[in-house]
Symmetry: C2
Subunit: 251 residues, 2 copies
Amino acid sequence: MHFTSEHDVADGVITREFTLDGIPGILWTPSDASPSAPVPLIMMGQPGGIGMRRMHPRLAARARAVAAHGFASVAVELPGAGERPPLPGAEQARSDLVRALSAGEAPSAQTVDRLVLPLVEKAVPEWQGALDVVLDLPEIGERVGFSGGVIAIGVRLAAVEPRIRAAGLFAGSYVPRTIMEEARRVTIPLHVLLQWDDEGNDRQMALDLFDAFGSAEKTLHANMGGHTGVPAYAGEDAGRFFVRHLGSPLE
Amino acid sequence: MHFTSEHDVADGVITREFTLDGIPGILWTPSDASPSAPVPLIMMGQPGGIGMRRMHPRLAARARAVAAHGFASVAVELPGAGERPPLPGAEQARSDLVRALSAGEAPSAQTVDRLVLPLVEKAVPEWQGALDVVLDLPEIGERVGFSGGVIAIGVRLAAVEPRIRAAGLFAGSYVPRTIMEEARRVTIPLHVLLQWDDEGNDRQMALDLFDAFGSAEKTLHANMGGHTGVPAYAGEDAGRFFVRHLGSPLE
């Protein structure tokens, strides 16, 4: 892990950019985190293909919100996003998806697989590598949550990565069948956000995924407002979910 | 309105039993409510057929919880519950429902209609009459919410009673088709609680009802734990919903 920026402190949050094996990332830490008072960590997922630079204002706002609960957070650039090379076949899969949706049809399972699975396959080990090095920092404790972003990445991580204790997922993209199956093996507490009238999402698929999770504690919060219209109170509910499960030095 | 009990004050809540046109009810008021600082009112729905006496511990706990937000609350005995005479046909309809469920079948639409519609038809004007007299009390303000109970009663009230500004509904019983249609006319903010694996409920019907509501702001919170296993944090979320929409003298 190589920090590429100076420590930038504002509003009680230290922002540090880094690269890890050539992949850019950002780490946000409450300025009062210390080796004697290590803080929980939120792995902050992002939508696929957009890139951290364009997402930065929203990521920074989420980081400040979780820092208010006493949590650090980390984001890494997804495969194929920002300056990273495109994933093989991703462009073709995306245009197949757009073609299906333009024709008023559901995309085929094969299209969804080609769009999402290569991203999951590459992103998940990268996230795990980032977790290895971030958890080595003395001011970061071992209580880890995953929040938002491409839901298929969140499901795979929740199924395979035992250091993640709770996940807040955003049902906002298509889910391959194999990921649906992996959902049955997820047992950590889950908080799933669904925009009920999300024009770019398949509502029934989201409900089926929620049903499939093996977790004894899982909560679905469905709201109106379209894909990007998540109400502010829904974000606050998600914050309370992480406080319940990761604890907080501030509460 | 005829108060049948002395004022009983405990934990900052005044409990008063009353009868109204022969129907028993209970009014809970924060002890600091006054004509110069009137408080919002929650109409507290109950499950059908059980009766306020058996429900009293749970009703009183909900009343204390809403009083902590500065709200008064009122419950009235439902038609056919407690000491009130049974509704015509209710016993037959209930045994038809039990027979269908025992056979692993969905109850017919006719059975649901016969079970629920007479209750809605009789309960809704009674609730409206109770609202008339309770809102005449000087310490009760005009901000009114409806919470819980038989969801078909809540839907009808939300559709026809303009004094109700927000409703928290519990998707825990069957909904006649005509009530499903009335849901499209509901426009007030809604907070709908669904127990995902509720053995006595039809999940798809609950999702269809949520979809039908015409409200621009509607939120569905689905949780695990079976019909009676609503998690404590789900109750707290509902409390925050009412605080957002009815305001509170305490916040």
